[in-house]
């Protein structure tokens, strides 16, 4: 009986290589040898919260409708990392944070994150979990309707949307834009990226959201760990070009290799 599932040998090797690359990147990060490019969307989050403090209006952080058990779990984790960062900034600077929830499995984690952030800043008494992290609905358009209503009533100064989004992305982006919010949008859902690009002030495209947690932490170790993402992309690019050239010459070596 085979130990490995059929057709997953190469993915396993790739996974192990990614693991090694991440380990090496962390070691280089420890030595301060890793420099990563700036991501303007993430740099702008502090500006969003600062703007909210100046205007005396709230900040929204929407992490999407993803759950921990779907294929979008990684995007949800990325959204939660940013929520933790935004909550810390809001507690520190004195902006009111709203983070409406759509998934009951993610909600307790989000609540704990925000509580931790307020506690660490010594502002726990300023947090009203029921009001600031309300559960709206697990159904797409009921959730969307709730958030659109909140945006219209509260006129938030800023809106940060990082996580998995579906058709509601355009509704949120437009509603908050009309409410005069400065917006940072980011998702790895391909069909929603153009909507955010069209309306938001800053956009995180695709894999940039996965680097968000490490990026905002400012920790050289964590920053080191995301450098492997770029190395791996370079390898994929080289393999893609070689594969395309070989396939054009009717030599499907790379194709056959990847299907092993």
């Amino acid at each position: 009986m085979a130990i490995l599932t059929e057709g997953r040998l190469v993915p396993l090797v790739a996974f192990i290589l990614a693991w090694i690359a991440t380990y090496l990147a962390i070691q280089l990060g420890k030595q301060g040898k890793i420099r990563i490019r700036r991501i303007p969307g993430l740099d702008a989050i502090e500006e969003v919260v600062g703007r909210a403090v100046e205007m005396g209006r709230p900040v929204f952080d929407i992490i999407g409708m993803g759950s921990f058990t779907s294929i979008y779990a990684t995007q949800t984790v990325a959204g939660l990392s940013i929520l933790s960062y935004v909550a810390t900034l809001c507690a520190r600077l004195g902006a009111k944070l709203y983070a409406p929830q759509a998934d009951v499995g993610v909600m307790p984690v989000a609540i704990e994150l925000v509580r931790d952030a307020y506690r660490s800043e010594g502002k726990l008494e300023e947090l009203d979990v029921d009001e600031q992290l309300p559960y709206l609905s697990g159904t797409q358009f009921a959730w969307a309707g709730g958030i659109i209503g909140m945006a219209a009533r509260m006129k938030p100064a800023g809106n940060i949307m990082i996580g998995p989004f579906w058709a509601e992305s355009m509704m949120f982006a437009e509603s908050f834009n009309r409410a005069g919010s400065m917006q940072v949008g980011g998702t790895a859902r391909m069909y929603q990226i153009p909507f955010f690009a069209a309306v938001c002030d800053y956009v995180l495209i695709g894999e940039e959201i996965f680097a968000a947690g490490a990026y905002v932490s400012g920790d050289p170790l964590q920053i080191g760990s995301i450098a492997s993402q770029d190395w791996y992309k370079l390898v994929a690019l080289i393999l893609g070009i070689i594969g395309a050239l070989l396939a054009t010459a009717n030599v499907p070596v790379i194709q056959n290799l990847l299907s092993m």
């Binding site: 997953r8 990614a18 991440t22 380990y23 307790p108 029921d130 559960y135 391909m190 894999e207």
Partner: protein
């Protein structure tokens, strides 16, 4: 040792390794263990559903009792509908499969959901209006491309001028397809690296500031 930080990290690592092994290997012990973990997840989610309902009752119950906000009747309506849906589902004994439940779902919820979805066309038109203005070379190129794609998508224009259809196809397959794959590869790699960082405890955003 910080138990509030380290215990979740150990649990994440163990569950993550089992999930990875379940994907790559054929060991029946691993598959059975992972099935049990997934079932735990289902049970936890069911409990969490109660948490959502409790939150709704607390938030909206408070608004109804205080009546400070002008929109408190909507809170009352929400809780009323929540109770009706639950009672009809439980009362018939057939849950969401009963005719009564199906009726209130199809007659009340579905049209509202469809209306919300339909309103997307207005949001998209407004978004398109804002972005498709030829202010510089980049936006001019985007504008021209959008014209070809939009007209190529209609039945009339490709019927009258067949090149519209071919130009649209070329834009999608050659231009959009290349960019789409590039982003998709990046997303896949980003997700894998995030998964590895989560497994080895480098991604702790989901744990808060512990």
């Amino acid at each position: 040792m910080d138990a509030r930080r380290d215990i979740p990290l150990v649990i994440t690592f163990l569950v993550g390794v089992i999930a990875v092994m379940d994907y790559y290997t054929t060991f029946s012990a691993v598959k059975e263990t992972f099935t049990v973990i997934k079932n735990w997840g289902v049970v936890l989610n069911a409990f969490a559903l109660g948490l959502g309902a409790v939150n709704l009752f607390r938030v909206h119950g408070r608004r109804i009792s205080e009546r400070k906000r002008s929109d408190w009747p909507f809170s009352a309506w929400l809780l009323l509908m929540l109770v009706i849906f639950v009672l009809v589902g439980l009362g018939t004994g057939q849950f969401d499969a009963s005719d009564q439940y199906q009726w209130i779902y199809n007659a009340l919820y579905l049209p509202i959901g469809a209306t919300m979805y339909a309103s997307l066309c207005f949001y998209m038109s407004y978004g398109a209006y804002k972005i498709l203005r030829a202010r510089n070379l980049d936006s001019f190129l985007l504008f021209v491309t959008a014209i070809f794609v939009v007209l190529g998508n209609t039945p009339l224009f490709p019927a009258l001028f067949p090149p519209f259809f071919h130009i649209r196809e070329w834009i999608f397959k050659a231009v959009v397809g290349g960019a789409y794959r590039g982003i998709r590869i990046g997303v896949g790699i980003g997700a894998v690296v995030l998964g590895i960082r989560t497994l080895i405890g480098m991604e702790t955003g989901y744990l808060g500031r512990r």
